[in-house]
Symmetry: none
Subunit: 190 residues, 4 copies
DNA sequence: CATGAATGAGAATTCATTCAT
DNA sequence: CATGAATGAATTCTCATTCAT
């Protein structure tokens, strides 16, 4: 793909992200996505087979950016406890810094748009994080709970924290924010 | 309203619930809701001013049933710790027993459909639960966190547990289920 | 028909008249007509076979009241010129005094609702006025024009005058009103 | 707009004109308008924001064609009397030659669809004709009546004449047609 | 390649009419 | 008789997708 083509594809994804985050799926017809992206409607169909395809690609992209960002500065060499601390913190920070992505993801995950392909792709992305969990379980730092359960509890809690911050109820520097993060750790630690 | 009228109104709500839970908002046009409810499309409009109105009414109804159900057997006389235990347990049980309601609520809460009226109504419904939190905070059983934060952490975690059970990963009797509930308590207890 | 039945029938006609005059045909669904008439929707169908039937009956009723009113005080004994004067004047006065009827009639006459039966009924109502025209033509007071043409010219002009008054541009006592009436006579007099 | 686009827009207007003239507003749903225009329903909405918008645009277009047509051959140099003669004659001829436009205009003007914008646009179109009236009033050729009154009387009378011709009661060459036109002049001349 | 006009299936909503009470 | 709840055909309008330019 040429650089220009990449630009247009990215513009379409970004426009869809913003519109869906701001107005929900109903407020994001293809025509408006194209308009905000500054490209033609037809052009979108050169890069995505359908609207569903666009949205699934957007989700993968979002999750990919998220994992890339929170894994930055993380190393498998880090002690498990510190690794967790890093990831939790990075996760909340990322969500707060990218509210549109959070809003989009929440809507998407609760809609029946998700495909099997998307689910598989997600697992791949989360591999390093799974590894951390496995290490933690092996070191008996965590409660004896299945991996998916810990993941679900942590993810939903962090997301809840991020939403609170976005609603304006709390600032990042707020000491209660630290307490909140600690609470999440309390939940899963043995 | 006559009994038959109440039946039709309830049938419309139930049909909408099922369809939205199963297929999302896009899979629930008024025509299909009417069809599944076994009534005419026009009839729905005798009871709800618009589709938005129907959906908001449904959400209130769902939350109302939920609170009524989990408050059954709960008493303000109960010690705080037991009160929590009861509510958490009842909440997961209710969500697992009413998967369509959970699926609908998750979709609705992440959509831009909520109105101010609905939000106000919700607060009213949750009053008794708020009181429990206040008691717990007063007795210094909980971490020093704002009420909304504790509520959000608990609700999102319980929901996450319920979804896990629904996905088939776990049964109600599973010992890990008890551990999961305990983990949620660990998160918020001082 | 009992007296009460006549009341309901009249109430339906009156409600339809007002609604159509105020908001046009689109603003006058049967449900609203019934509501304003203070009766049930079904009741209207006891007196009128359909909405079209109701509207046609209303038109006949309107025209009947109009002719009855303007013929009051008119006598075949009157000299033709004075007879005309009387009728023209009475016609404008009636229209101005009954703006809803004028508004309704204008809308009705330009719609394709009118039936052959209604047309025939109209002719019957206008008989005495036709006679006046015939007398005038016989006395060679009028231009040699076909009866329908004079009638159409006069009716449209009087209606135009009445609309002007209703629009607030002119008062009944205004001297230009007299001049206007005289102008209409100038149009048809030989 | 490309030529083809203009074609479609014009086709929609023409189809709406014919259907409303023939069957009234009730006989002209968007689907039928599109069908007769030989275009898709959605296409109409590319050119008109709503059905109301389409109808108002049609009215402006009709009146614009009408004024353009009757002003052809008219010159401000013409003596007032001849100017009137020309306009009256051209007006009847136009109405008779374009019965659908007459029928549509009559229905529209008596409906509550007119917007303020449309009214303003009309005034602009009728400027040259207003000028003629002003000249005539200045030369004391007309009765001392307000401009609007003369305009209303003349327009309604001419329209009445045109409708008569359309009903088949009279032909254009008919001497009584000339007498009719003369009668209208008699009405307003001093 | 990019575009956006054109399309028509499908969505929400209205309303004349019926009929059980 | 009177009522008005119930109905579904019909209406307006939207939007994902196509395809000629």
């Amino acid at each position: 793909m040429t650089e220009e083509a990449l630009d247009k594809k990215a513009a379409a994804l970004q426009a869809a992200l913003e519109l869906i985050a701001e107005q929900g799926f109903h407020g994001a017809p293809m025509s408006r996505i194209a308009e905000r992206a500054g490209i033609g409607v037809g052009t979108i169909y050169r890069y995505f087979a359908s609207k569903d395809d666009l949205i699934n690609a957007l989700y993968i992209e979002i999750k990919s950016r998220l994992t890339r960002s929170i894994l930055k500065g993380y190393s498998e060499q880090l002690p498990v406890r510190e690794g967790f601390q890093h990831l939790l913190d990075a996760l909340v920070r990322y969500c707060v810094a990218h509210p549109a992505e959070l809003a989009f993801a929440e809507q998407y995950e609760n809609s029946p748009l998700i495909t099997a392909v998307t689910r598989a792709e997600l697992l791949r992305l989360f591999q390093p994080i799974q590894d951390l969990f496995r290490r933690a379980l092996a070191e008996q730092l965590l409660k004896e709970l299945p991996f998916e359960m810990i993941g679900a509890l942590v993810y939903s809690s962090v997301t809840a924290l991020a939403k609170l911050q976005l609603s304006g109820a709390m600032q990042l520097g707020d000491p209660r924010y630290e307490t909140g993060l600690a609470a999440i750790w309390d939940m899963i630690k043995r």
